[in-house]
């Protein structure tokens, strides 16, 4: 356990500069995007009020409706979903880099890692935990970022024009945030369980490639493809299976794939991997 924790901390430390940059990008992009969109909206409001001789925000709200946080976000949507997309892409790339940098870094770091005492499977668990922690870290950042963004919205939009909403309602109605941080605990666990399973499958494919090179690459790609088909497969039997059966089958197959990936990875790390 101690060795596993050491490895996790080491892996986190190795990514912290890029991670800090991603976090900064998220905060700056979303704050600037919201500020800019509210300024644009308020300019339009003032211009419209001047044009139609409306003397108060209340009259404007009666005639044209209020400005919600959602509408403010959607005006400069790329500042929000764009920053999220950059973070997701970076983490997806890091799923590969977290292994390959050990082979192709300045020093052949994998040599030292494989020489560590204890089970080599700790390497697998540590890298998997790191990816999960990094993903959840960005989700946590987004969670703590929403209240100040909403406070900024309330500060910049006059009370007569503002349309209050909760963070949860906003997230539920936003397709990207609802996917990445579903407010329903069961959905949250299911989304990230399927994500972890996917990462475990990719890790296994990487280890296949590292163990058998070209043949391993083909085997890994096939393994990932078959795993993907297995996970989405039950849905294609919707005409004969009931939803509870599809759901149960998907979860069971994901558990099976996860266990299989861990087992194959353990075998490869123990017996086949080479530097």
């Amino acid at each position: 356990m101690k060795r596993y924790l050491h490895l996790v901390i080491m892996e986190l430390h190795r990514f912290w500069k890029i991670y800090a940059a991603l976090a900064a990008l998220t905060v700056l992009s979303q704050t600037a995007g919201l500020w800019w969109s509210i300024r644009t909206l308020m300019k339009r409001v003032h211009w419209e009020m001047e044009l139609t001789n409306l003397s108060s925000y209340a009259e404007f709200a009666n005639q044209y409706g209020r400005i919600s946080f959602m509408s403010a976000v959607s005006i400069k949507e790329p500042f929000f979903t764009g920053s999220v997309a950059v973070c997701v892409t970076a983490l997806l790339l890091y799923v590969f880099l977290i292994w390959y940098r050990d082979w192709y870094g300045k020093n052949t770091f994998i040599y030292r890692l494989l020489m560590l005492p204890g089970s080599r499977l700790n390497l697998f668990w540590a890298k998997l935990t790191t990816i999960l922690l990094l993903s959840w870290g960005l989700v946590a950042l987004q969670i703590v970022l929403f209240p100040p963004l909403m406070a900024m919205y309330r500060h910049m939009v006059p009370e007569e024009l503002a349309l209050d909403t909760s963070v949860f309602s906003f997230v539920r109605h936003h397709p990207v945030f609802d996917l990445l941080m579903p407010p329903h605990a069961a959905d949250f666990l299911l989304h990230y369980w399927l994500g972890i399973t996917g990462v475990a499958v990719v890790f296994t494919a990487i280890l296949m490639e590292r163990s058998f090179r070209l043949k391993g690459l083909a085997a890994g790609a096939l393994y990932a493809l078959v795993s993907g088909l297995l996970i989405i497969g039950p849905v294609s039997f919707e005409h004969v299976l009931y939803p509870s059966e599809i759901f149960g089958l998907t979860v069971a197959l994901s558990v099976l794939l996860f266990v299989l990936s861990v087992w194959i990875s353990g075998m490869l790390l123990k017996r086949k991997i080479s530097v």
């Binding site: 959602m70 509408s71 959905d187 004969v240 759901f247």
Partner: protein, 398 residues
């Protein structure tokens, strides 16, 4: 050491933020509503769900309200949303009931179709699937048969048989209107239309086949002209009269025909006697802005004219169509401002209206037209939430 502390702090931050987010999301739900009985037997409320929306800031949240509370679509879990959108979950209450009771038998066949019908009594669940490929001119192709699947409810045994149609429906399309088990025969009513449909009333035919459930022998099927005697260029719409349970055993088949600028016609076919009976009723007048609907069970036909300011119901006894009574209701009778919508239940008409500014429902017994139950929607937290609530229609639970 510094790395360890930072990593521990990071992990704590992640757990706390996500834990707090999920915890608050489950605790801070949207306001709850409940359908409360104001008068009558509270069991009536259990049959109903009210569907509408709640204005949550910029979002119109879809909500259903029942006696046990309210449920918002946006607060459903992903699995519940998947279940609601799944093609293997029927939207028809009687098929939902059958699927829940006999999931094995209903597997893959949970939807109604124009060529699929169900029958359900104390002993049997029967499914009939008609394979009727369109035969145009002399081109003989495809299948012309009935596939029947039967489930003996007592023993749980399933049996299937295929029964070929004795005649080919040349240049005609067909829909299965109804199936009924009488003795050891399955009476199967088809309505056939010319292909391509030319809209002429004399072309719509009713064919009732008797299929032996022992050996699959098919008899009957003589075409019976539906609604003869109309103008050639009239477009007639023929359909079944609405009933509370389309799978229930019935003595009669009731069909209705609408045509523009023409009276409505109701045709009754008695399965046991093989006889028909027709009733002509005045169509909805152009001045009437409400809706006209028919409802039947095995004892009566009900004609309903529903408008915001008036409900008029006429009840006709079956099979002779003797007029039993007429009922007229105004909003004042229910202490309402206007009528908003309605839904049919088992021998019930549920009326959505307002009562002292609150969304309310009243249930009428179709036998005598008496209001036997009244319910109002109440907010579980602040009464002010009701101002943001709109109810659009009534759903009958499976």
């Amino acid at each position: 050491m510094k790395r360890y502390v930072i990593s521990a702090c990071f992990a704590c931050f992640v757990v706390l933020a996500i834990g707090l987010f999920l915890g608050l999301a489950s605790a801070k739900g949207l306001p709850g509503f409940r359908l409360e009985t104001a008068a009558g037997d509270g069991k009536e409320a259990e049959a109903l769900l009210l569907a509408g929306w709640y204005q949550n800031g910029p979002y119109a949240e879809r909500v259903t309200i029942g006696a046990e509370g309210s449920e918002y679509e946006s607060e459903r879990s992903g699995y519940e949303r998947f279940r609601a959108g799944s093609i293997s979950v029927s939207a028809i209450p009687e098929l939902v009931r059958l699927t829940e009771a006999y999931p094995g038998f209903m597997r893959g066949r949970t939807h109604a179709s124009t060529l699929l019908d169900y029958y359900h009594d104390d002993e049997w669940v029967i499914r009939l699937q008609a394979s009727l490929t369109l035969v145009i001119g002399d081109r003989m192709a495809g299948f012309h048969n009935f596939r029947i699947d039967m489930l003996d409810k007592k023993t749980g045994r399933k049996r299937s048989l295929t029964a070929p149609l004795p005649d080919v429906l040349r240049n005609r399309q067909a829909v299965v209107a109804d199936i009924q088990k009488i003795g050891d025969k399955l009476h199967t009513a088809l309505i056939t239309f010319p292909w391509p449909f030319n809209g002429q009333r004399e072309d719509a035919e009713l064919r009732v086949y008797q299929i032996s459930l022992q050996d699959g022998e098919v008899t009957g099927g003589e075409p019976l002209l539906l609604f003869p005697g109309g103008a050639d260029d009239q477009v007639i719409r023929v359909g079944e009269v609405r009933e509370p349970d389309m799978t229930a055993p019935r003595k009669y088949l009731l069909l209705k025909a609408y045509a523009p600028d023409s009276d409505d016609r109701i045709l009754l076919y008695s399965y046991e006697q093989g006889k028909t009976h027709t009733l002509t009723l005045p169509a909805k007048s152009p001045e009437f802005s409400g809706s006209l609907q028919y409802y039947r069970d095995d004892s009566a036909l009900v004609r309903l004219l529903f408008a915001a300011d008036e409900i008029r119901m006429e009840r006709y006894r079956l099979p002779g169509f003797e007029r039993e009574r007429e009922i007229l209701l105004t909003p004042e009778d229910l202490r309402a401002e206007t009528f908003q919508n309605f839904a049919w239940g088992e021998n019930r008409l549920y009326i959505l209206h307002d009562a002292n500014g609150l969304p309310a429902v009243s249930a009428l017994d179709l036998t005598d037209g008496n209001v036997i139950w009244r319910g109002v929607v109440r907010a579980e937290s602040s009464a002010g939430e009701l101002e943001k609530l709109g109810i659009s229609h009534i759903l009958i639970r499976p």
